[in-house]
Every structure is written in C-alpha cells, then in structure tokens.
C-alpha cells in the first residue's frame, strides 16, 4: 500500500489524563474511499481518540497525518481536509438551518455561499432549511450536522456515534447515504460506534478498541469468515465425537445430548459429513451459525463492561 493512498494515518497515539492512560499506542490508517469502523464498548477511548483526530484534544504522544499534513504542526491544512460531527450534532438552535450553514461557510474563505444549496440538497433538507433548528427532529439535526461537515468538500468525514438516537429507518437512511457518499464522491469515512450490526453493513474495515488499546484491525469480511460455529445432530454421538476430535481443523468441541457444537472452516463441512457417513454415523442435521461482528466483538472485549 502506498502511503499517498492514505487519507488518515495514526502512529503511536497516546493520551494520558492525570495518571490514567485513556488511549494507548494506537496505530491505524484509513485508505482513500473506504469506510473505516472504529468499534468498542462505551468508555473504551473512542471519543477521546476522535477528539484528538479533529484537534480538540492534544495527544500526549504520537502523530496524526491527515491528507499528508501533520495535525499538530500544520493544523490548518490538515483540518481543512476534515468534516466532522463529534458526539451529537449540536448546532445553534436559535438560528435557522441556513443561518447555521452560512455561519460555517463564512469561517472558511474558500467555500462559496452557493455550496450551501448543494449540501442541503444532498442531505434532503431543502424544505425545512429556513426553519429554526430548535424545531428540528433529531434525524433532521443529524442531517444538518452532516451537511455542515460536508460544506468544505472534505477528503475525510469523521462521525462519532452517528446512529445515536436515530430510529431504525433513520439508521438505514444514514447507512445508505454514507455508502452513496463514498461510492459517488470518493471520500473516506471514519465512523465510531458501539452498535455493531449497523457498522457491519457499511464498513469496509474495522478496528476494535477496548480499554484504550486496539485489539484487532482487519476487513469485516475477514473477521466474519473465520471458523464458523457448526451444530451437528448425529447418532451415535460418541463415535461422532471421536471422529471430530481427530480432525485438526476442528476446535472447541462441545456436546449436548445428541447435538455437538464445534468450530471449523465452513468449506470443510461437506468433507466432515462424508467421513461421518463412511463410518455409518447417522447425520440428521447440520446447522452453520454465521458469526456476526457482534459475536466476535463480545468475545474479544469480554468482561470490559464490568470494569
């Protein structure tokens, strides 16, 4: 991978507040045109990390490169590439949607006023844009927040828990919208969440963070395609058990009555079935449990919530 393809690169990022280490030695990067999920339970350090990415918090150690610019040393050029919503989409509630956007356009010389109509069209707020923000629903505020983030034609969109407080229809809408942005405008999206199945459907790659450390970074596809959990209903059970135990690609075998649960690669199921039949074991059911990101996530971060 060429480093020029990276929109965001984070190296050795640390944040210590007092004696507590909130974020410890993070490394990751976001490619051009990809949706990168940043997953972790509440209190894992997601928001602190995002605040460091947009310059609200100074890192104790480490480097953040956005579009090739060092956020600490070349703040203006680096932040110019970014559009963000940190936590809730908080805008000036006493102003109208349009006044809010005008306010932010005025802050950056390069953005023309007519850009407002484009982004408003994009987030489908045209009808209500001249109403005061205090009359907006949460979903509309969220869309205005995204409009605000898109004003400067950013290379990188940073969204912190964007689905918070949205109803299922709103979530689906947001997901489609983000996919559309990535596919049509080619921008990269960095998205944090603690609700996995939402992220699973829109991310290309994810990093799983827990207690301030990244446990794993990989593509969603790879994560899900690891050994899957397979349920066997067979008779006699003992013969089946000893057969499975002999195979080295099968792991974590457990039996319940006439059922056996075991982990194995999905493409070996047919082969195992064949061997069972050869040994005259009656197979009356094979069920493959597709693992979700949620299962993997819970497995990795087990016990975190209780701390």
């Amino acid at each position: 991978m060429e480093s020029s393809e990276m929109v965001l690169t984070v190296e050795g990022l640390c944040k210590t507040i007092g004696k507590r280490e909130i974020v410890h030695d993070l490394h990751f990067s976001v490619k051009k045109g990809e949706v990168f999920g940043f997953l972790g339970p509440n209190g894992a350090g997601k928001t602190t990390t995002i605040r460091m990415l947009v310059g609200l918090i100074r890192p104790t150690k480490g480097r953040i490169l956005i579009g090739g610019y060092d956020l600490q040393k070349e703040f203006l050029q680096a932040i110019r590439q970014v559009g963000c919503i940190v936590e809730n989409p908080e805008l000036y509630s006493y102003l109208t949607g349009r006044e809010n956007l005008e306010h932010f356009v005025r802050m950056v010389k390069e953005i023309p006023m007519k850009r407002i109509d484009e982004v408003v069209e994009l987030v489908d707020l045209t009808e209500r844009i001249d109403d005061p923000v205090k009359t907006y629903s949460l979903g509309m505020r969220q869309r205005l927040g995204i409009a605000q983030a898109l004003l400067g034609n950013p290379q990188l969109l940073i969204l912190d828990e964007p689905t918070n407080g949205l109803d299922p229809a709103g979530i689906r809408e947001l997901r489609n919208f983000i996919r559309q942005l990535v596919d049509e405008e080619g921008i990269s999206v960095f998205i944090s969440s603690h609700i996995l199945h939402e992220v699973q459907l829109m991310c290309d790659r994810v990093a799983i963070i827990s207690q301030g450390k990244i446990l794993k970074t990989s593509s969603v596809q790879q994560l899900i395609e690891q050994d899957s959990k397979v349920e066997w209903i067979i008779d006699p059970i003992q013969k089946g058990l000893s057969l499975l135990k002999k195979l080295d690609y099968v792991s974590q075998i457990e039996s319940f009555g006439e059922r056996i649960l075991a982990y194995m690669p999905a493409d070996k199921i047919a082969e195992v079935n064949e061997q069972m039949i050869k040994q005259q074991i009656k197979v009356s059911g094979i069920r493959q449990h597709q693992q979700t990101l949620e299962d993997i996530f819970l497995e990795m971060t087990e016990g975190d919530q209780i701390v």
Binding site: V54, I79, V86, Y92
Partner: protein
C-alpha cells in the same frame, strides 16, 4: 477576520440579548424619569416660588453671606466662590439650572449607573459568550474549522467590544428620548462645573472649569465606556474559564455586587483600591464626588482597570488556545 467578527456579532444579536437589555432599559428609564420629575416638583413646592431667577438670586446672596463668615475653611470658601460664579453665569445667560431637560437626565443616568447598573448589563452580555458555546457543544464545530483558535477568541472579543459600545449608545439615546417627553429636549449647552481633584481630605479646585453639558456628557460616556469594557473583559475571561453559562454569569454578578457592597462596608481598607470593581465609578472624578479610598484618582483608576483587563485577556487567550475540549 471581519467575517468571524460578523459571525460572533450576529450570534449576540440573534440570541436576543440586546433585545432583553433594551427592554430592561425601556422599563427602568421611565421609572427614573418619573422619580426625577417628582424630586424637582417637591423642591419647587418647598421654595414656594416658581420664578427660578428669584431663587438663584436668593441662593447667591445666601452664599455671599456665608463667605463673609470667618469660620469657613479656605478651600470650602473657594468652592462657594465657584458656585457663585456658576450661578451668576446661569443668570447672565438666562439658563435655568433646575429645569432638568433631557441632557441633564442623561448625564445623571450615566453617573448613577456606571458603578452598578451598567456593569450588570455588561455581565448579561459578556459572561456566557464563550461558556455558552461549551454548554451547547457548538465549540466543537467552531474549533474544527481551518481557523486558528486565537482568531476565534479575538473575533469574539471584538464582537463584545462592539456590542458594549452599542449598549451604551442605546442607553444614551433611550434615556434622552424617554426623559425628554417630560423634561423637554433642550439643555445641551448648559454649563457644567468639572475638574475637581481631591488630595487627602481637601478638595482642590484649582483646575475646576466650566464646560458645556454636551461636552460633559461625552466625557462621562467615554469614562463609562472604559469602565464597561473593563467589566466586559473580566467577564470574558470568566466565560473562557467556566464551561457552564449559568455559573460564569453567577460568578460575575457576585463579583460586581460584592465590589459595590465592599466600598460601603469597609471604606478604610486601603488595599481595596487595587480591586477592579472598586474603580468602576470613573465619572465620580468628573463630578467631584468624594473618593472611596484615599489615594484614588482618575489616572489611578484607569491604570488599575487597564492592568486587570490586560491580565484577564492574557489568561483568556492562553487558556483558550491550549485547553483540551472535553465537553
């Protein structure tokens, strides 16, 4: 930069703060006007005549008699001589000094509001300027723009200076227009005595001179503006340090009111004169009202207020540009 200032000023206006303050003035000024009207009427009734020339003449004679007395201190005599001169001036130029007129009311209103009422209005304007962005969370949107933090804070400060100036302008215009309904709109050229100085317990009258009222009002408004800016700057710092709009407003109100109370409770406490809130009554130096703590004079008060303001600005900028935004 002008765009940023425009943004901040626009928000102050749209927050309806100015409207609230104008409304307060619209309620307060008529009440004061009526009070002033009542006082004038009572004085006239006590003297039993409505011919102001007769009253003035009588007063001059009275004072001349007192001058002849040997028991009066020399500096007091000087003051009386000045007074006689002024009253003679009124007579010669056919000016009725006790018919208040709107400009006289404006002058009195500025003099009386400079150390408490005006600071309170300024606190309403300034105390949540930055902290409200924290409480509403919009600070995150402001600081993630390609604009350096110091520019954002500076634009807020400039907008504050503009709105304090606007506030004073509204105050002068409203008090002129409203009080004029009862007192009439004339009296801009009425002569006023100013230039009093105090040294120890003595009133030094060497520099006393007569200025037209419009000039006096201009000077008083200028001094009121200076003291309002000082209060505004201190409130501005507090609004940077505090993250909740309500608490920053509370701290500033308490400080302004405590300052006023202290001057009444402990006038012998020398060190008080270095406290900013004691030095707000700058127009007192124009009228020659006795100073609160010995050793205070106009340059001293201006210096104290300047030092406090500069220190507040330095702290505000240092904190704002370095702080982590966690709210």
């Amino acid at each position: 930069m002008s765009n940023l200032v425009y943004n901040e000023f626009y928000k102050i206006i749209r927050k309806k703060r100015m409207l609230v303050i104008t409304f307060i003035l619209l309620v307060i000024i008529p009440i004061f006007t009526y009070g002033q009207y009542k006082t004038t009427k009572t004085t006239l009734e006590e003297l039993g005549t409505s011919d102001w020339r007769a009253i003035l003449q009588q007063q001059i004679v009275d004072q001349q008699n007192r001058l002849a007395s040997s028991r009066i201190a020399p500096e007091r005599k000087e003051q009386i001589r000045l007074n006689i001169k002024l009253q003679q001036y009124y007579l010669d130029h056919d000016i009725n000094p006790s018919a208040p007129g709107a400009p006289t009311f404006v002058r009195g209103f500025i003099e009386n509001s400079v150390s408490l009422f005006l600071p309170l209005l300024v606190v309403i304007l300034a105390a949540d300027l930055v902290s409200s962005e924290h409480s509403s969370g919009t600070i995150k949107l402001l600081l993630t723009r390609p604009v350096p933090r110091w520019k954002i804070l500076l634009s807020k400060y400039v907008a504050l200076l503009l709105s304090i100036s606007l506030l004073l302008l509204i105050m002068v215009i409203l008090s002129y227009l409203i009080s004029g309904i009862i007192f009439g709109y004339k009296g801009w050229t009425m002569p006023i005595l100013t230039g009093f100085q105090t040294q120890g317990e003595h009133l030094i009258t060497n520099f006393v001179h007569i200025v037209p009222q419009w000039k006096y009002i201009l000077m008083a408004a200028g001094l009121a503006w200076f003291s309002a800016i000082a209060v505004g700057t201190l409130s501005f710092m507090v609004s940077v340090l505090m993250r909740h709009a309500a608490s920053s407003m509370g701290v500033m109100l308490a400080a302004v009111i405590a300052g006023t109370l202290l001057t009444q409770i402990a006038p012998n406490w020398q060190e008080l004169k270095y406290v900013a809130f004691i030095n707000l009554g700058l127009t007192d130096y124009l009228t020659g009202r006795p100073v609160i703590v010995e050793g205070m004079n106009l340059p001293f008060s201006l210096a104290v207020l300047s030092v406090w303001s500069i220190a507040a600005l330095v702290i505000a900028f240092l904190v704002f540009t370095r702080r982590d935004v966690n709210t």
